[in-house]
């Protein structure tokens, strides 16, 4: 979360939308001498390649930081696994065990072990992005619709891949429509099932995106009330409420990563074993 000052100017307005949009600079504390608190670090811009602008933006940078931090912490903790993990390794192992024993195995059965590395990668990547987004001056990569759509497309590809790998291409397509239906009903059912097929990754993407956006907007609006109302007297209430929402956001960061993983596991399981 970048701080409330970043989007504020002197006429008591708080730029809520600008706060959550992607930008081509990083917000850095104490960089610029003219602004006592806020500075900008302009990111290098690239020429468009084949008409696609691949320049760095702050969401990209924070997504890379999340990936880097994820790899670093996991290698530091489990590079040389100990029989009894300590410290951070202990906490991470508890999360891994929770995902394996409470999410993947009950939903997918023993065949879930094949998909466990993928599901854990998705979970930890979303979790790190969500939590890094809560650090002041940072940006939430999962609060960008492109990132969540990409994640949902990966989930969609794995789902279809699992269905085709388990049932063959024809069996997979056949399993999309419930068996034993009279032929005229198929005219209605096939479009509905195709819509349902697309709606699943769409809902995954929208859910993660909207949850991240909503929490950050709520925190910013509570802090922005001080600027909008132009009085210091709302500050204690605002700060307390914003702090409470902040704690709620940490929880939501975990819950959304968990739900994304759970639903991905469920969809993969449904595609792989369509008869139950």
């Amino acid at each position: 979360m970048a701080d409330a000052n970043a989007g504020a100017n002197t006429d008591g307005q708080v730029d809520v939308i600008g706060h959550i949009l992607d930008r081509d600079y990083l917000e850095v504390p104490f960089l610029n001498a003219h602004h006592l608190i806020d500075g900008r670090f302009d990111l290098p811009q690239l020429e468009p390649i084949l008409g696609i602008d691949l320049s760095l933006t702050r969401h990209v940078v924070w997504m890379w930081l999340a990936s880097g931090l994820l790899i670093t912490t996991l290698i530091a903790c489990f590079g040389r696994p100990k029989l009894v993990p300590t410290g951070l390794a202990n906490a991470l192992e508890a999360i891994v065990l929770f995902i394996r024993d409470e999410v993947v195995l009950p939903v997918m059965g023993e065949s879930g072990r094949t998909y466990l590395p993928f599901l854990l990668t998705i979970f930890f990547f979303i979790l790190y992005c969500n939590l890094l987004g809560l650090v002041p001056y940072s940006a939430t990569a999962t609060g960008n619709i492109s990132v969540t759509v990409a994640l949902a497309l990966i989930s969609f590809a794995v789902t279809q891949g699992a269905g085709i790998a388990n049932n063959g291409l024809f069996g997979h397509l056949k399993a999309l429509v419930p068996g034993g239906l009279p032929a005229p009903l198929l005219i209605i059912m096939i479009p509905i099932e195709i819509i349902g097929l697309i709606a699943k990754p769409f809902a995954l993407a929208i859910r993660l995106f909207a949850n991240m956006i909503a929490g950050h907007i709520a925190i910013l609006v509570f802090l922005g009330l001080i600027i909008m109302l132009r009085t210091y007297w709302v500050a204690p209430v605002s700060v307390i409420l914003a702090a409470a929402l902040y704690l709620l956001e940490i929880f939501i960061g975990f819950v959304q990563a968990f739900i994304f993983t759970l639903l991905t596991a469920l969809f993969v399981s449904m595609a792989a074993h369509p008869d139950h």
Partner: protein, 73 residues
Amino acid sequence: MEFAYLGAAIGAGLGVIGAGLGIGLLAAAAMEGISRQPEAVGDIRTNMIIAAALIEGVALLAEIICVLVVVTK
């Protein structure tokens, strides 16, 4: 064009009503199920979270559309 704000605000509220009713009914049914069969708490919890996530997804879609109305007004 000020009615766009009004429409978006009313739409956001209606979306929340729907989601609140849905998740409330869902939680009530889940609590009842747990109190009737405490040993099934794990299964009920998992299925409740899945259903809640689906309800929430629709509600968030409504809220996103309301935000879009304001932003693209």
